[in-house]
């Protein structure tokens, strides 16, 4: 313990602090971009799967395949698949792009299911009423269905997002300079493991706890009036 205290000022020197702060931002941006893009894509997938429109039969089938496949593959394997897919396509892309794509892909498949469950939790007679009043599908979705579906969509989606933030640590495997890689590098430079991993532990906690608080806040804000 005394040795760690002694090491503290040396550990949090200017260079290391910037290094850690950058890694923190990197993880944050990676998670945010990945989950954001994934959630939007999940919306499209969920709409394709829930609206029974004949013209969309082919797309619906593809959406189902996409969701069913990506939900069943471990994150590390997905990361490799995306990595080699980019290589195969000849794209010279950054590791950040590879990692963000993998997160978006996972998030799209999982949130598609959450959003679908939310949409389907709303009684079909709400669609009937909207339809006979000549509301278009998207208008009905936005004004009638989603406001009643958020309470089903938000909790599992936020839980999954927290899981994805934690999964970003796996991206250290392909050399993305996020928090876990940085901790490993500092550790290899001779700083004590307790300090290296202790500091990123705190940073992961800060991100994930904030997300949980945000989820709790959104649940209240987006709930139907009776549940507020």
């Amino acid at each position: 313990m005394p040795s760690i205290l002694e090491e503290l000022p040396r550990f949090f020197n200017y260079y290391n602090s910037i290094f850690l702060a950058k890694a923190f931002l990197y993880t944050l941006v990676l998670s945010f971009v990945g989950c954001g893009v994934g959630f939007l894509a999940g919306f499209v997938l969920a709409i394709l799967r829930t609206r029974r429109i004949n013209r969309w039969a082919g797309l619906r089938w593809l959406a189902t395949l996409w969701v069913e496949v990506w939900r069943r593959i471990p994150f590390l394997v997905k990361l490799m698949v995306v990595f080699f897919a980019f290589q195969f396509a000849g794209g010279n892309v950054s590791m950040f792009t590879v990692a963000a794509t993998t997160i978006a892909l996972s998030a799209s498949a999982f949130s598609a299911e959450n959003i679908r469950a939310g949409i389907e939790s709303v009684h079909p007679n709400q669609w009937d009423a909207a339809e006979t009043m000549n509301m278009g599908g998207l208008t009905a979705l936005r004004r009638v269905i989603l406001p009643q579906a958020w309470s089903v969509i938000i909790p599992p989606s936020m839980t999954y997002s927290v899981g994805l933030v934690k999964s970003t640590s796996i991206a250290s495997q392909i050399g993305v300079l996020e928090m876990t890689s940085v901790a490993k590098i500092l550790n290899q430079k001779g700083f004590s493991a307790a300090l290296c991993f202790g500091s990123i532990l705190l940073m992961y906690f800060v991100i994930c706890y904030s997300l949980n608080r945000l989820a709790a806040y959104m649940e209240v804000r987006l709930a139907l009036p009776r549940n507020r």
């Binding site: 909207a130 006979t132 000549n134």
Partner: protein, 245 residues
């Protein structure tokens, strides 16, 4: 020429025929009630007219204008003619009574918000709910919800109002408040098609009663004919069974 003219209308659920060669004419201001055993296609007929189920064959015309149910544009046109009130009310759960009434006129029909709101308040007052304007559906009784649903349908200014078993989901003591509201509309000369099991009410308000069975119109006539002197065996059986108790 009748106001609403239905010619040889047929529809299927999957491969099961549920409406077969329906012919029906409704005059302006008329109240036509549809009765019959469950599964006879009464509600299905209203679902086809309001564009919730695509017809297989036949034609529908309102005031001489033929309605098609094929393209989204045709569907929109058809739905402009009708409004429907459902058995389960189907009020939007995330909106107040007032918003339920104003949403389609403002969002769909793009009418002026202030004008729509004034109308909506008047309609809610007409159905006796001016004190519940800001209530959400699950804060209201079934009868109140159904009256909001009627106000919501009227706000669309339909040519014909369809009422699909609007009292069937209500507690018995709440039925009369909804029936009273419908009587008000009848007094205004609203053209209505009513699917109902309230035989006393049907007999009282209807200008014409349609008896359906197995997806077909079996008998059409004034209420006195259908209830007192039915011309067909099936109608006789049905009426004697329901009037016995």
């Amino acid at each position: 020429m009748p106001y609403l003219e239905i010619d040889n209308l047929s529809a299927d659920y999957g491969k099961v025929p549920v409406l077969q060669d329906i012919n029906l004419a409704v005059e302006r201001g008329e109240i036509v009630s549809i009765i019959g055993p469950s599964g006879s296609g009464k509600s299905t007929l209203l679902r086809v007219l309001t564009g919730l189920l695509k017809p297989r064959a036949g034609s529908v015309a309102v005031a001489g204008e033929k309605l098609r149910y094929d393209s989204p544009k045709d569907l929109r046109r058809a739905r402009e003619k009708f409004a429907i009130v459902f058995q389960q009310f189907n009020l939007f759960q995330n909106m107040t009574a007032l918003r339920n009434v104003t949403i389609a006129p403002t969002i769909v029909q793009k009418r002026k918000a202030a004008e729509v709101e004034a109308e909506a308040r008047a309609l809610l007052e007409k159905v006796g709910l001016s004190h519940r304007i800001d209530a959400y559906p699950d804060e209201m009784s079934g009868g109140q919800q159904q009256r909001v649903a009627i106000a919501r349908a009227l706000a669309l200014k339909p040519d014909i109002l369809h009422l699909d078993e609007v009292t069937s989901a209500l507690d018995p003591e709440l039925v009369s408040e909804v029936l009273d509201t419908i009587r008000l509309l009848a007094d205004d000369g609203m053209t209505m098609m009513i699917v109902s099991h309230e035989m006393g009410f049907v007999r009282e308000v209807s200008s014409k009663v349609v008896f359906m069975a197995d997806g077909r119109v079996v008998e059409v006539g004034p209420p006195e004919q259908i209830f007192d002197n039915p011309q067909t065996q099936r109608c006789t059986d049905f009426v004697s069974r329901i009037l016995r108790h």
